[in-house]
Symmetry: C2
Subunit: 329 residues, 2 copies
DNA sequence: TTGAAAGCGCTAACAA
DNA sequence: TTGTTAGCGCTTTCAA
C-alpha cells in the first residue's frame, strides 16, 4: 500500500500538495492536480485513515451502543442512524453491550481514545455515572431511554401518554381487568409506561390490582410467555393484557393460544414498538408505533451537530396507536 | 487527556519506559514500574489507541459485514463472533451493508486503512471480486455464504443435505405436492438447497413441478406472504411448503392462516434457521436448526488465527431438523 | 535497566 | 500556488 510520500515523489510534488489534492483544499493548479491524480491512480493510493485521524483528532466514526441486537426494536432505529450518518460522511460502529458493564466500558473507552467522534446510547441499563462523566468532554446522545433532568441530550417519545392511550383503548372496548406486563421499574421508560397505565385506570375509576401487574427482567419472548403463565393463574383472570414491548406481547399471545383461550375474545393483547413481527402473529398485534427510523435519524443528526459544536435540544417524537386483530376480533 | 509524554515527565522517566510498563515488556525495575504506575494513576492516563495502531499497524478490531441486522438469523452468529473476539482481545465493528455496494466499499476499505485487522463477511450479495482481491493481502473469512472453490476460507453447513432432509421429512408424512420458496439462485445457498429439494423428490420418484417453485428477492416476511399468495393460486395447491428461511416460512404461515386454511392439516410448512420467533408462531414452525452461535465462534477463531498468520481450513458444521407443530398436527 | 531518537502517515501553519 | 517542517501519540531499535 502506497503512502503519501511515494505519491508525492511520483508526481514530483510535495506531500503537502498531495494532501491538498486529497482534501480538495484551496488553490491547486489544474495541471498539478492532474499530475497528483495520475500518481494516485498509478499507485492505487488510498490515504491512511489512521494517520489522518491521529493528526486531526477526528475519526468520522460514531459509536452506537445497543443492549442486544436480538430485539428488533433497534433495527429500524439503527437504519435511521446509519442513513443519516453516511449522508453526513460518518460511519457507525455498532456495539452490543449485552448490558454488560465490562463490554460497555471497552466500547465507551473508544471515545476517549479518539477512535470515535461521539456516541449514541440506547442501553437502558447503561452506567449513567460513566456516561455523564464522558458527556462532560465528548458528544453523547441518548436515544429512546434517557435520564430525566440529566445533562445528556436525548430523543424519545412520550411513554406515559402512549401507555395511557393503549390502556384507554382497552377500557373503551369494555375491559376492566387489564394486566400490565412491565419491565423492571428501575428503567425510566418502565416507570413512565406504568404511570400511563395507572392514569388511564384512575380516569375510568378502575382499581389498580397488584396481582395483574407483572415485571420481567428481560424483553425476550420467553419472558412474555412466563409472565402470561403467571397471569393466567390469577383467580380472576385478566380480560386484556398490555405489554411494554412487542416481544413480551408476542410471548403472551403464544401462551394464551397455547392454553386454549382465544385472542381477542377471551383476552385482548396490546404491545409496544410495532416491530415487523407484530404483524405476523396470529392474530396480528395491536401496538404502539414508535417512529423508530425517524428517531434514529434524529439521534444521528443531534450527535453530528454536537460533534461540530452546535448546541442540541431534547426532542420528543410522536407515536401512534395501531389497532389490529389482537384487540378487535 | 494526558499523553505518554506527561506521564513520563511526572514519573521522571522516559516515554520508552512508560511504554514498557504499559506493555508489560521486558525488564523494568519494580521501583521504576511503581513510579510509572503512580503517575499513570494520578494523571488518569489511557494510551491513545490511534497512536499505538499507527505505530504497530494493528487495531485489534474485527470487521463484521452483514447484509441486514433485521434478519434474526445473524443475531446468534454475531453473539458467537463477539464472545470469541473479546475473549481473544479483539473487538468487533458490526457493519450493515444492506447489500449496497457503496456501503460495502466504505467498510471494506477500512481493512486497507488498517482500521481493522480482518473481516468476516456474511453477505451473500458481497462483491466477490473485491473480496477476493482484498483476501490476497488481508485476513478474510466467509461465514455461512461462501464461494465454491474460492480462495477465501469459510465456515458453513451442508445446505444441500439440510434441504434434502427437510423435504424428505415432508415426503415421509405423505406429501407429494411440496412447494419450494427459494431465494434468488444466484446465491450459492439457494442453489444448494434447491439441489437438496430436487434430490429428495427424485429419490421418491416425485415430479419436480416448476409451478410449485417460487423465488423471492428478499428474505423479509412480506416476501413470504407474497410467495404463498401466488402458490395458493396454483390450480392444484401444494400440501406442503419448504421455505429457505424462517422469515419466509413465517410469512407463508401468516398467509395460509389468513386464507382460512389450516397448518399443518391443509398445508404443512418447514422453515430454515430456527430463529427465536419460529417458536412463537401459531402453530410453531418446523425448521432446520443451524448452529449459529457456534458458527460465529468458529468464524471468529478462524479469522483471528488468520490474523496471527496461522493457516486455516474450511469448516462445515452440523445442522439438525427440528420437528414442531407446523408439520405434525 | 533505561534513555534518545527515529518514524508510522498524515495535516496545517508558515514561508517562499 | 507550492514547499518545508513540526508534530499528533505511540513503539522499538540502538546505544549507554
Amino acid at each position: 500500500m502506497a503512502n503519501i510520500q511515494q505519491v508525492a515523489q511520483k508526481a514530483g510534488v510535495s506531500v503537502a500538495t498531495v494532501s491538498r489534492v486529497m482534501n480538495n483544499s484551496s488553490s491547486v493548479t489544474a495541471s498539478t492536480r492532474q499530475k497528483v491524480e495520475n500518481a494516485i491512480k498509478e499507485l492505487n493510493y488510498e490515504p491512511s485513515v489512521l494517520g489522518r485521524n491521529l493528526r486531526t483528532s477526528e475519526s468520522r466514526l460514531i459509536l452506537v451502543l445497543i443492549p442486544s441486537i436480538s430485539n428488533p426494536f433497534y433495527t429500524e432505529i439503527i437504519n435511521g442512524i446509519e442513513d443519516t450518518s453516511i449522508k453526513n460522511g460518518y460511519n457507525i460502529l455498532l456495539c452490543e453491550t449485552d448490558s454488560s458493564v465490562e463490554r460497555e466500558n471497552i466500547y465507551l473507552n473508544m471515545i476517549k481514545n479518539k477512535l470515535v467522534d461521539g456516541a449514541i446510547s440506547m442501553d437502558p441499563a447503561v452506567n449513567m455515572e460513566k456516561l455523564n462523566q464522558l458527556a462532560l468532554d465528548y458528544p453523547i446522545i441518548q436515544c429512546s431511554e434517557y435520564e430525566e433532568g440529566g445533562i445528556i441530550p436525548y430523543v424519545t417519545i412520550n411513554n406515559e401518554l402512549a401507555a395511557y392511550q393503549a390502556v384507554k383503548h382497552l377500557i373503551k372496548l369494555g375491559h376492566e381487568r387489564i394486566a400490565l406486563v412491565n419491565s423492571d421499574e428501575k428503567f425510566l421508560y418502565a416507570r413512565q409506561r406504568r404511570q400511563g397505565y395507572d392514569r388511564a385506570l384512575k380516569e375510568y375509576h378502575l382499581p389498580i390490582r397488584e396481582e395483574l401487574i407483572y415485571h420481567t427482567d428481560y424483553l425476550e419472548f420467553d419472558y412474555g410467555i412466563q409472565a402470561m403463565r403467571k397471569l393466567l393463574e390469577v383467580q380472576e383472570k385478566p380480560t386484556a393484557v398490555f405489554a411494554v414491548s412487542d416481544t413480551l406481547a408476542i410471548g403472551a399471545l403464544k401462551e394464551i393460544n397455547q392454553s386454549g383461550l382465544q385472542v381477542p375474545n377471551d383476552i385482548a393483547v396490546v404491545g409496544f414498538d410495532k416491530i415487523s413481527f407484530s404483524n405476523m402473529t396470529n392474530p396480528s398485534l395491536t401496538t404502539i408505533s414508535q417512529p423508530m427510523y425517524k428517531m434514529g435519524c434524529t439521534a444521528a443528526t443531534m450527535l453530528i451537530n454536537s460533534v461540530v459544536g452546535k448546541k442540541v435540544e431534547n426532542i420528543v417524537l410522536d407515536h401512534e396507536l395501531v389497532i389490529r386483530d389482537s384487540t378487535m376480533g
